[in-house]
Every structure is written in structure tokens, then in C-alpha cells.
Symmetry: C2
Subunit: 408 residues, 2 copies
Amino acid sequence: MKYNAMVGQSGGPTAAINATLAGVIRGAFANDEIDKIYGLQHGAEGLINKKFTLLNDVFKTDEDLTLLELTPAAALGSCRLKLPKYEEKPETYTDIFATLAEMNVKYFFYIGGNDSMDMVHKLSSYAAKVNSDIRFVGVPKTVDNDLMGTDHTPGYGSAAKYVATTLQEIVRDCAVYTTKAVTIVEVMGRDAGWLTASAALPRLIGTGAPDLVYMPEVDFNLEEFYEDVEKEFAIKPNLTIAVCEGIRFADGTYVGEGAQSGVRDTFGHKYLSGTAKYLTELVKEKFGCKVRAVDLNLPQRCAAHIGSLTDIEESVALGKSAVGFAVSGKTGITMAYKRISTEPYKIEIGCEDVANVANKVYEVPRKFINERGNNVTDECLKHIAPLIQGETKVVYEKGMPVHFVIPK
Amino acid sequence: MKYNAMVGQSGGPTAAINATLAGVIRGAFANDEIDKIYGLQHGAEGLINKKFTLLNDVFKTDEDLTLLELTPAAALGSCRLKLPKYEEKPETYTDIFATLAEMNVKYFFYIGGNDSMDMVHKLSSYAAKVNSDIRFVGVPKTVDNDLMGTDHTPGYGSAAKYVATTLQEIVRDCAVYTTKAVTIVEVMGRDAGWLTASAALPRLIGTGAPDLVYMPEVDFNLEEFYEDVEKEFAIKPNLTIAVCEGIRFADGTYVGEGAQSGVRDTFGHKYLSGTAKYLTELVKEKFGCKVRAVDLNLPQRCAAHIGSLTDIEESVALGKSAVGFAVSGKTGITMAYKRISTEPYKIEIGCEDVANVANKVYEVPRKFINERGNNVTDECLKHIAPLIQGETKVVYEKGMPVHFVIPK
């Protein structure tokens, strides 16, 4: 007898979350044990509200799936919904499992970050409790690269390639004037500096990397920061600095928090701004020079047009493998990359017990940050570099990248 | 007898200003009348401080020039220096012309925006006054596309391609949640909405364009803006809005001014940033929904990794032609694209008297904006579309685009 599969996406978008989805779909299409594959509309929301899309009807050709692999964000829709604990709301669980039984679903795949792995953990624990045979498999994704149990996360490589490429361009841009100026670029990462570290990758090809790089793994010290800037000014007039949005002072407060106590506009609205904006204001006051804050914002997590081929190919493979793992009997797991070697770069796909990875943070190891805490080490760049290698074959129509949109 | 040429870059960087530089260098290398070509270090600053780079020594192979064409920002360095009027400081002019005579320079090329064309005008006027035979030729560039006398400007097509690509990605990103939310994306353009208009280009391939587009050519009305947002909310929960940094209220004040310090640059231009941020605060207050402001900032003008092939090829051709025009005797001109037809797209290269174009602004025609003033017309998209066609062959090394850096 054949069973059906179900797949959902959750959390913040990345340039690779659809590549993993395509991998799961490809895996399901190719697997003899699987009949239909349903997509959850907006992740857990769709699961609770019973909103599904039959993906067999949507993807008719290999080209469709290839386009999906090149489409940023979550094509099925995402959510920020956190499943209640079983003890708090048991009916949520009985309801979900009734739906899954009704739809003959035996394989359930959930692509997401920390909260999604928490959901996989909850559902698989409940399945064990009620002796359900449904397999729950998590597939990680996040541009932050801060999940435990995997060498790196799908989506990180593409975001890192965008950040490295953009920083190199910004450094070029900022180098044109002879005026004393500081440009501070803010990179995503609430708890870990992985994406910020990638800003330094242009150093591998010679020029174009930011002069200073600050990450949350090291306490931020304002006096040392001023000293760092002063020292760089002795070398050249125009500095580029990458800062992680999550950098904190020794007392644990976010550096950007200070910005919220600031200016009010003519309408009396509080002018809220980020970490980079705040630091540029301080630099302007301290050094009296021209400053500019650049927040890489949403583009860094959805810039599929400069995706890493390595990231996209690995993400597809991870999704495919998730299907194989589920059909072979695994449940309560999250898929993972295991690095075999860095030079030459080689990984294997494995899995981890989801209970061991949920709600933990994978930080940048201290050895990947220099002693002063104001830049990454060469070892760090060597570790990250393989993840941004290769370029995807973006399909263009009328001068713009073509995306695949799943109709609702 | 052979003469020398000199070339400089000025104003804000673009992804195509080096393509034009490469064109001028290629033109000079190929022209029998020209011996050496000098590069001005930091534009007018290099001219006044006598800082030159002999480009014949720098560019030894065709590959070097091809890489230069793919390098963003101003490889020779730029400046914001405005030449004083002859009446104010005649010695500046006698000094410059003495230097040029000493260096046997007969052909002078200056690549830049409005302020650069003003300098070409001043220098060529002085040349006429003192019967100098030196030819001064301006070559336009600006991502703003706001120069008179040319159908469009080098650099605009690449910036437009980046803006269109990025907006499409942001729209994907913002569409994933079911929550009511407004994302406002701020695009460059102090006086003209050309670059903001390009945000709507994804509409040409179906989906992924912003719902509303506001440009400075139409007075911004807050009440109408609220009505527009309300109307869009009736259709879907997550809106994406593109706004030009230069949008103004009917009384002439910039919308973003409320959130600003009012700093002016050396030309007296007001620094604009924070228009999107400001509007999101108002939307949050009015609609109580989630908001996000994205400022495309520097990346939109230096994103050479997604340059328009049409833009880069045309920019090279324009630079080459500038050499031909100068050698044939033209001076006091700025190079220009003349559009022959849109479908099929065809242009010719010509020139304009620089006196007719300096210090004027080429705005988006009213017919290119819908009646309500909250979006562009299809005619506008048809007009812009040819300029973003084709993709450059970016050279990658270790996963990153390779740039050509001119040593100093």
C-alpha cells in the first residue's frame, strides 16, 4: 500500500528554502512508497486550518522544479506559529493527527529554523506517545547558520555569497573619495555572527573586504571600537565596517538598543534605527567625519539572483535525502550536513535526533575570531569559503530572473 | 604630431562608470592621433593637485579592460569638487591649462553627472576664451537617469536591473506570511523617479512587482496615500510599496525631511534618507500593522554583479565614441544616446552642447505615471525595459566577482 507525504515551510525566508522543497518533491515523486505529496499553505497555519495544495498537480515538468530551486522565500508560504505544548492544548494534536490519518499521510517534512525543529520534536513525541507510524522529519534552513547538529544550514551559503559580493561592491563604492568617511554595514544575525563573518570573504581574492568586522560572540566595547577606527584612519581615509545586528555590550544589552532613545521627528514620532545607524551617529560625533549606515535588510536573505550553486545543490540533495530517511523509518530527526573535509571540500548527509538540536544556538567558534575581536581569522574564511562556490544558472525573461509561483 | 588624452571620473559611483572609462581607454588606444592617456586621480582633485596615472602602463591586456568594465564605482577615484567660476578664481584655470599644455593633452574626457557637465562647460568656455585647442568632452553617468539631452544615462540600466530584481525578491519575501504587513522600499532619486519606476518592471513578467510606486514628479499627499494603502489591504494582507527618496509634499518639503538632520552636501543638496522609515512609522500608527522599511542604499548604485549587458555595452560604446568625437574636433559637448525606436530597441550615439544640459533635470514624463500618481504606466515600463536587457558575463574567483583595481 502507498502512503502520502506532506511538506511545509516555516520561519524567515531564504534563497534556498525552495530548493529544499524541490528536493523533497523530487524525492517524493521518485519514491515508489509515496503516492501524493501535499504542501502545507503557510506551514503550521495550514496544518491547523487544513489548507493544503496537491503538489503533484502543480509540478508537471522538471523545468518547474528547477525554477522553484531558483525562487527565493517560501513558495508554500510561511508562518511564525509555534505549536502549543501537548499538555496545554491536547486537542490541537488529536486534530492534527486525525487530519493526517484522513489524508493517509505517513511522511511529514517540515523545513525551517529553530521553532520548526521544535514543532517536529513535539509532533514526533506525540506520535511515539500514541503509537502513530507517521514519520516526522525536519529539514533545517536559516541564513543565520546558527542551528546545532549540522555543519552549516541551507540558505547560509547563498546569503553569504550575497553579503560577500555586496560588501566588495560597497568597499569599491566607498573607496572613490579622498574624504575621511566611515560606512557601517549591518548584517543579519540575532545570536550568531556567521553571516557577518562572510562579509570578510572578499579578502580571499585580495581586496574589497571590510576593514573591521564585529560579531555577537565577542562583547562589544565602545572604547576599543573607537581605538580600532582611529588605527584604521591612520592607514586610509575611507573605512568600511561590518557589524552584526546582534552585537551586545558586556552587560548583555544590544548595541542597537541605544538608538531607540534617540531623535524624534517633527510629528513627534520616535525615530527608530538599527545597530549600524547608531554606531555611525557615535562615529560622527567622535571623529567629525562623514558617515553612512547601510542595512542589508531583506535582500540578504532572498537574493536568489546571486545564489551559491553549492548551497542550492546541497539544499536539493538534503530535501531528497529527507524523503529517503523517512521512508526507511526515521522519525523525530532533523537532516544534517556532516563535513568530511574542507580541502578538498566534502560533506555527507546525515541526521540528528531533533531533541538534541531544537532551541540551541550554534555560535561562531572563538578561534574563528581574532584576538582583538574586531575581525575574522583566515581559518574562518577557509571554513566558510566552500559554501559560496559556484553560481546558479538563473533563468531570465525580459531581463529579470524568473520565479516559480505556486498558485493557491 | 600626436597628442595625449586625459580622462577623469566624478560624482557618485555607478556600475557602468568604469565601462565608459574602459570605452574611452579603448578608443584612445585605437586612435592614431593619441599617444598617451592619463587618468585623473579623483577627478577634479587630481586635475588641481596634479595627480595622474598613466593608463597605458596599467592596462596591458584586453582582459584587464574587460574586468574594468565589470567593476563597479569609479576606478580612478571620484570627487565632489566643484570648479570655481572663472571670475571668482581665474588662477585655477590658468593653472589647469598650464598643466594640460605641459602634458601635451589635447583631449580631455570627464565622466560624471550634472556637476561634471558643469565643469566641462566651464573648461570648454575658458578654452574658447583663450583660444586653446584642447577639446573637452563630457560623458554622462548617473543611476538617477535625470540628465537632459540623452535618452538615458549610462549606469541607469544596471541600477534599474538591480532594483527590479531586488524588488521582485522582496515581494516574494513579504508574501510568505498571512499577517497584515506593509514593506516600504526606498529607492534613490533626489529629483527624478526614474530608478523608482524600475521597481515596477517585474510586472512585465507577471508577478512580483510592488503594489504602489511613488515618485517626486507628483506631489505626495498623505491622505491619498492612506487611501491607497487601505484599498490594497482590501485585496491582500501583505503590501510592498516603492518610494523615491525625493518625494515631496505639495509645499515642496521632502517627505523624509521630518526624520532628518537637514545636512547638505558640498553642492548644497540636501541629504535624503529615511523617507521609507518615516512612512512606515505613519502606516504603523494609522493601520496598526507590522511594517518594515528597506533602504536600497549604496548597493543599488554599485551592484555590478547584476549589471545590464545593454547598459554596459552601450557605456563602453559611448566612451569609445567620445574619443572619436573629440579627435574630429568637437568640444564643449556631452555624449548622448538618441533613441531611434523602442520596439525593436535601437539607439544612436550623438552629442549635445554641454551648455544646454548642465544643471537641468530630466524628470519622468507625467504620461509615464498613472492618473492617481501611485504607480507607473505600461508605457513607462515599455520605455525602460530595453535598458535592463541581457546579463554581463561576471568573472568569478573563489566564488566572488573579480574587479579590476587601478594601483595608485
